[in-house]
Amino acid sequence: MSLQDLYANYHARVQFLVIYIREAHPVDGWWLGGGLPGLMLKAMGSQAATDVYDPTTMEERRVVAGHCETVLRYGIRTYVDEIEDGVNKAYAALPTRLYLIGVDGRIVYAGDWGRLDSSQHNWGEPSRIILHERKPPRLSERNQPGPRRSRFRFDISPSKTH
């Protein structure tokens, strides 16, 4: 299941936020656009750009983020990290990363670094978490005997269905 599929199916139940952070492989950094890496990227059909310099101002960063949003067409509004990389650092997000956060504000899933671009993330586990999302129990149900509930408002047990 792709990110676009996840969003199409679950955006009413889950708030998706794409956050643009510092460029991972800009021309003026760890560039993968030349030589064999560049050829491999093209052969793999990656949508990652290979001609972008790392923005040095917030205005430049917003322009590149807007271009990225237009080209990658996730259909999800993109938000832009500040030039000091505060959110990127807080979540160790570079180069790509996925988190799911429960309604209680706690991390439910922390994805590993992605490869090349977000379309190549392993969406399997986050998909299962979202598929098994459940509402918190009613107050009248909370002290009833039964299976142990997840401490989160996502139920990550693959055996549960709703």
Binding site: F16, V18, I19, A49, R77, A92, L94, R106, V108
Partner: protein, 62 residues
């Protein structure tokens, strides 16, 4: 001008440094407030607490 290998080492060092401090399942998600690509529509993570789960997808163009 730094070589690609120097950039690679720098990136890996950054990842090692920050990954150790990254939030893990069960941790409270770090708060933030960001704006969209036009510098508009400010959004805070706390806007969704008690309302909806949130999927954060971090990435760049390269």
């Amino acid at each position: 001008m730094p070589s690609i290998i120097q950039h690679w080492k720098k990136s890996k060092a950054w990842q090692r440094q920050h990954d150790a401090l990254a939030p893990k399942p069960g941790d409270v998600a770090p708060a933030f407030e960001l704006r969209d690509v036009n510098g508009e529509n400010p959004i805070r993570l706390s806007d969704f607490r008690g309302q909806k789960p949130v999927a954060l997808i971090f990435g760049s163009f390269t």
